[in-house]
Subunit: 257 residues, 2 copies
């Protein structure tokens, strides 16, 4: 065997997306690429798993060093299918989820199917990187995301002593590649989505709603946040944990429970 790395890919925009092709471009510079990606868009699926439906797996691309399957499930299903079934005897060096069409900064980390998959990968003790570009366009320009994604991937692959679980949420600003100022290690911005429900009436006279909203940044001037980094031309990298315990609330809660 060679000393090529083995990189597993998934995403939430489906294996047909331009961002997924961009992720393959990033990954294949480092070695062999295997992928299971949803067969249809799964944005906003968070860390959802499929309990009530059977899963169909399909080989959709096979060439030298690139093997791609599609699955009719969530991004997390793809990761589980990879590491508990299809590739369970392979030693995978890194998981890349993305490149997402749209930001996963701030609280989006919790709604994002891209980051759901990256967090799931961390449960298998494999370093994982969620890559996102802050542009929803189907035909978005991934040049900057490929360049800086490559840089982060190289840094992780070159440093095997990094702590585990390791899961990085990497967001690249939607500006020309040569205007990006570099990488900024950041923390998750405080702030929340506030929704507007667009009301419509269907042909049968029944009312329905479309969920839509806007992110409200609670700390727009905090230079250590991921939203600040992106707004100021930097790639934001936030390390993500999987322990949701609010340790700082323990003491006060102990007095009332």
């Amino acid at each position: 065997m060679s000393n090529k790395k083995l990189i597993f890919l998934t995403n939430d925009d489906s294996y047909r997306s331009k961002g997924f092709a961009a992720a393959i471009e990033v990954a294949r510079q480092f070695g062999r690429v295997i992928a299971i990606a949803p067969d249809a868009p799964q944005s906003g699926m968070s860390q959802a798993i499929t309990i009530y439906n059977p899963l169909y797996l399909r080989n959709v691309r096979e060439e030298e060093d690139v093997l791609v399957y599609s699955l009719n499930g969530t991004p997390v299903d793809c990761v589980k299918m990879a590491f508990d079934h299809l590739f369970k005897d392979e030693k995978v060096d890194l998981v890349i989820s993305g490149i997402n069409h749209g930001s996963n900064a701030a609280v989006n980390v919790l709604y994002s199917g891209t980051m759901g998959a990256a967090i799931e990968a961390a449960f298998y003790n494999i370093p994982s990187i969620g890559l996102s570009l802050t542009d929803h366009d189907l035909d978005a320009d991934f040049e900057g995301a490929v360049k800086y994604g490559t840089q982060v991937v190289k840094a992780v692959l070159d440093n095997e002593s990094l702590p585990r679980p390791l899961c990085l949420n990497v967001n690249v600003p939607d500006i020309p590649c040569d205007e990006i100022k570099g990488i900024r290690l950041s923390r998750q911005t405080r702030g929340y989505w506030r929704e507007e429900f667009y009301k419509r009436t269907d042909p049968h006279g029944r009312e329905y709603f479309w969920l839509t909203g806007a992110f409200s940044n609670a700390e727009p001037n905090a230079e250590e946040t991921d939203e600040w980094a992106l707004a100021n031309g930097y790639v934001a990298v936030v390390p993500v944990q999987v322990d949701m315990t609010a340790y700082n609330q323990m003491e006060q809660l102990r007095t009332i429970l």
Copy 2:
């Protein structure tokens, strides 16, 4: 107006579930209850939101102090529909999500639709409690969950100075109510699901899979964990945070990025 509290309910097992009726029983002791719950089971939906489908809202129950709607969406959609549309002018004192049929202890907090809704409620600055019973049975016995759920709800409503965001993950063991030893403030157990994919063949000769698995506890003897509490006859209460930043990894990552 009276000094009755206003409590919002949702869940992930649908408004028809026995656990949802049990949650109404808990909530109505404290005042008025309004609810939006999924119209079909949404277990394992995590913090997913509905982007690609229109949402239909339906009034399914209206009586003194209890108003229930159903929504063809995720638990998080229900919370957003409540606080950004249907009840946005009401001051809600507490959100209860549940009572879930099945455990949401340990890493289940990340997959759970019940906890997804509870975390979402925290984004609206409303104290929230996810209530779960470690029994998946449709006809599970909720006596203990109602008793201890009531106790936790009372403690939160009686203590308005608790920190915000406040989101509690409350799991009740599936043992007779009078054998439950009390409440233990706990932290999220380390451990992960390992899946088995059951392979079947459909009538058209195509292979498909069912996702199924078992939780592997990485620290079964750690008395401060929620799994230990449940295994030893206690109700486990874990405060949940919404900042996913792994601050303890910042320093080491700064050296490589």
